[in-house]
Symmetry: C2
Subunit: 296 residues, 2 copies
């Protein structure tokens, strides 16, 4: 990454700390500046000088010297952090985030960058800043810096989401950064992004939860002792962190609702085929599903 001098990682949980580790393992590793909200996490970062070149007590200080700033905080805090660091950023620097829903975040952060640029222009301070969204689809049930892993991103998909506050140069820069840590990068609009993750991640999570709640309502005793690997696999994602899911559901409400309605429509077709004993139709649907899944 010799084309990036300094990356600032704001928030050093699983994603942020893993990104720092992965970047520092590159042959042309950038300098990594970091900030974390928690003093104890900052102390952990300072104990890893091979991963974090410099650890700051405020996000503004960490962002000030960076060419690329990656906001790796919980989704709810991203716009607040973006607003705080925008005035401190170098002219020409790009800001991105790793939030798992992009519509609202991209709109808010692009406006923050645009407002900062208007204010710089008015005051005669030169050098625009830029914002584009990112969503590296990597993670695990394990959270926090202690589980950080330089290989977390390898072979996983990553979305890069252009906004009105960036140009193609910033998109290429972010693409190069995520590819350098091993990701497959896809460029999509915020709306496409939110519909895609609703389909491959949010809908399966709600469906798995509904399977658990249906099983829990089984009238004659606890079904869990009879569960085999099928039930186990189908419901595994239900064990995910509920706080993360609270914000995902609220942030991506519209796309999730659309995906749930499509799913319900498919399910109703199964129910009515079963009601009229149209087993050929059900067999056709299960064969279509198998053909789809076999090519995953």
């Amino acid at each position: 990454m010799k084309f990036i001098g300094t990356v600032a990682v704001l928030g050093t949980g699983l994603l942020g700390a893993s990104l720092a580790r992965a970047l520092k393992k590159l042959p042309d590793a950038p300098r990594v500046a970091a900030w974390s909200r928690g003093a104890s996490t900052r102390a952990k970062c300072r104990a890893l000088p091979e991963v974090f070149d410099e650890v700051f007590d405020s996000p503004e200080e960490a962002a000030a010297s960076a060419d690329v700033v990656v906001i790796c905080s919980p989704t709810a805090n991203i716009p607040e952090i973006a607003a705080k660091i925008a005035p401190a950023m170098k002219g020409g620097a790009a800001m991105t985030d790793v939030g798992s829903v992009k519509g609202a975040i991209c709109a808010k952060c692009a406006e923050i960058a645009a407002a900062e640029n208007r204010s710089r222009e008015e005051s005669g301070r030169g050098g625009k800043i830029f914002f584009a969204g990112s969503h590296p689809m990597a993670g695990s049930e394990k959270i926090g810096i202690d589980f950080s892993d330089a290989d977390l991103f390898k072979t996983r998909p990553c979305f890069v989401v252009p906004t009105a506050a960036c140009g193609s140069g910033q998109i290429e820069l972010l693409r190069a950064m995520w590819e350098s840590v091993g990701m497959r990068v896809y460029e999509v609009s915020p709306e496409e992004h939110d519909a895609i993750v609703a389909g491959v991640s949010h809908l399966p999570h709600l469906v798995a939860g509904t399977l658990c709640n249906t099983a829990a309502g089984f009238p004659s005793g606890d079904l869990r002792k009879y569960a085999g690997p099928g039930f186990r696999d189908c419901t595994r994602v239900s064990s995910g962190n509920p706080e993360i899911w609270d914000s995902i559901v609220a942030d991506n409400r519209d796309a999730i609702l659309a995906a749930l309605r499509n799913f319900s429509g498919e399910l109703s077709e199964l129910v009515s085929a079963l009601e009229r004993r149209d087993f050929a139709k059900i067999g056709g649907k299960l064969r279509a599903a198998k053909a789809y899944r076999d090519k995953l």
Copy 2:
């Protein structure tokens, strides 16, 4: 298993051949007699004399000397095989099957045993035969004798299903047999059995298929390249053998329909909570699901 002299395994696919392997590894292994519909499978059995003591060309011959007959054929063939072997069975012998739906099979096979017993009584031939259902919940995507494994049943649940054509002695015998190969045995009625497997196996299969078909209908391109481990796990069972699922869906239609309706009801609550932005309700449901899943 010194209390069983001979077990006849009728059908030597994955389940039947694995049962034979597991029984022959016991310190007091019974004699294992076997039959398979396919000549090539019978040849494979004859090449495994340490697993199959004797391999017969007809199910009647294989069943004739047995104390316990285990019908391990595809579900659709079970009653036909039961009817064929009933007249050949020794007085006092017990018949069971390994079909994954129990209502219809248990009713048919119990009637076959009862009819045989009436005919024996009328003709003065002594010695009743018995039938109780079994459902060892073991298996894999890999099917056939080539994948058979003496450890297939270890720690897995097995249902034993009493009928009017058996007494407590036969239930204890079958319980002892399945426990001897490592299974956790549960005694349930046919109706309970079918509701349980609808909830833990058939509903998840249909739901996983519906997730695939919903994803396949995504309007803007193939979602699969974005899929992570969550989508992968939630849909894994969709790759199962469609022929097996055709008979399961037809045989267990009523219990599956009831489970699907319960699931749809749960899902509708999620949809309407999302419609009115009642995120607290959704959070509550996801937390309940997590609590349930975490204790699996």
